[in-house]
Subunit: 348 residues, 2 copies
């Protein structure tokens, strides 16, 4: 991703909402000066505590959390927030002149942000005054694509949305240094990032089954799996029970609407290989997963206590079920443990 | 639940997999001597550390975790495990004579357990030898009911399954002191628990929107909500954005197949009242929730920063996204913080 993004002449500001790990962040920012992106103030506090000094909090915050953001800024960390609301812009400008702010645009995702032709763009810009640092958008609807042409078209929309907004702000005499875009699919297949200054992909660090369906990676690229053990066998119904269920895998069903519905995850052998046939976790209960297959399961391998690895539908959500990573390097021996920042409480 | 279960002459062994909190467990076991039920060894270790001395681990464990269970038993805690597998029964009997074990039966849930007419019932019983303490089942398929008659019929199946198994074991000269059943729906509407010795309901402590659909409670009984703030408004599309998404609410969609699909949760006012109209969280992203309504949203209330409470589809899964409870008593002032045991790592 570093090579791809730099090849487009853009700074990489990797989104750490997936990995939430200082160790992973250090790998992602090696050789880059663009800082990082996070989605919560707890993440910002955690990464600040690990030496990161330039942090964009890309999810809008409510006004009651501005003091907490400003406190972090007071610790010598450059904090940038995002807003699409003029009341929030006024609240920031009135009380927190030290915070940088990006105006959030909607490039088609239909979640947050204003459209680039919305007259409130200039109103928010004026309300922010000296707090205004630039514009941002996230083309999350690239996840609906199933081929690179579709993704490239959405990447064009993503780019043109923020470039249009930045032009309007500059023409009105306002500052717009930062023009920020990003998702793993659009940054993988963008054909042109002219006018963009930084990119914020995140899930590329681990990849997952949904990214395979979108076409941004292959299964061999997936770095995150959940280790589970066989705790039950039912040969007559061609299923085994594992000790990873809704809490260990999450209830994310991202691949449900794709040609390869993986249930709650694909079941691989302990080495991470697809040697067990087309095995999926078909149902989950809180601590149980029911594994089935369209072919006869290899019961000789799936003895009670046998370990398997579950490839996740959506790495961001599955990783959040765990408080650390057990790091392996090509084998099964754990060579390191890396912590994560979960939850929303203030990290002092 | 205590009154209902005792009214049937049965001991309450509340399942703490939902609450995972020592404070909640103390309330649930007040006046009871039946011990508690948990679903992981981490929960067992946590509750043992808080003085609980009789713990059933109701989810089957793999053989590599037997030492960990035995270690807890060595700390003076009576640990009971469950199995439906003869190899596991032999492993326990060979190496861990100190552990009590229940044979798990399938009363129609189609998850774990053997059918009561399975010849391996007696084989597992004999393999367990002195470790055999009794039988158990969980009628999880009661969640498919939408009225009390349906639940009562499943409660009958749940009871007859374990009573039949207990009779077969006793007739074969084996010990079967414990005859254990339980789910919140079946324990609420069981007409007859003759032959049953203990009940293991769990979600009744908090209740949730799925339990409302099943018919075991009303919305006013739901004790668990997620506090969230409005972070975005889109009046033209009749939606607001809140700062609680997939990680804070979970991606559980239990009510999807019911007459009242609540999306990812119902949106109530700060006091927990249904004063905002038929508001649901329709979509979630990692940290964003999109709130919509079939009626015009009350935008005058839903200003930026306004707080709302989200009623959960499934309390067990939503609660697991958080590391503590903020306890309120009829109002909005926090009167206590109660911790939770999450994850699977050993609690020393």
């Amino acid at each position: 991703m570093s090579v791809t993004v730099r090849g487009n002449g853009v700074a990489l500001r990797p989104h750490l909402k997936t990995a939430k790990s200082a160790e992973v962040a250090r790998i992602a920012t090696a050789g880059e000066a663009g800082g990082i992106t996070v989605s919560t103030l707890a993440e910002a506090e955690y990464f600040a505590g690990h030496g990161f000094r330039d942090i964009l909090v890309a999810a809008a915050q409510p006004p009651q959390k501005l003091k907490r953001a400003a406190k972090l800024q007071g610790r010598g960390v450059k904090i940038t927030l995002a807003t699409d609301n003029v009341d929030m812009a006024r609240a920031i400008a009135a009380h927190h002149g030290e915070l940088e702010v990006l105006i959030e645009l909607d490039s088609g995702d239909n979640r947050a942000g204003i459209k680039p032709d919305d007259p409130s763009l200039l109103e928010i810009g004026r309300a922010l005054g000296n707090n205004l640092a630039g514009v941002m958008t996230h083309a999350g609807h690239s996840y609906e694509c199933r081929n690179s042409d579709c993704i490239s078209r959405i990447a064009d929309d993503e780019r043109s949305t923020v470039v249009s907004a930045s032009s309007q702000l500059r023409e009105a005499g306002m500052r717009c240094d930062v023009v920020s875009v990003g998702s793993t699919p659009t940054m993988t297949y963008a054909r042109n990032l002219d006018g963009v200054t930084e990119a914020r992909p995140g899930v590329y660090m681990f990849q997952d089954l949904m990214q395979v369906e979108i076409g941004t990676c292959t299964k061999g690229d997936i770095a995150l799996t959940v280790l589970a053990s066989v705790i039950g066998r039912n040969e007559s119904e061609n299923r085994v029970l594992i000790d990873a269920g809704a809490l260990a895998l999450s209830k994310d069903r991202s691949t449900q609407a794709t040609p390869h519905d993986a249930g709650y995850g694909e079941v691989w052998d302990l080495g991470g290989h697809v040697s067990l046939g087309p095995c999926n976790v078909q149902r989950v209960y809180q601590e149980h997963g029911v594994v089935t297959s369209s072919e006869p399961l290899p019961f000789e391998q799936l003895v009670i206590g046998a370990k398997v690895r579950i490839g996740p539908n959506h790495a961001c959500i599955t990783a959040a079920a765990h408080d650390r990573y057990y790091v392996v390097d090509g084998g099964i021996d754990v060579i390191a443990e890396w912590d994560r920042i979960n939850g929303w409480r203030e990290v002092s």
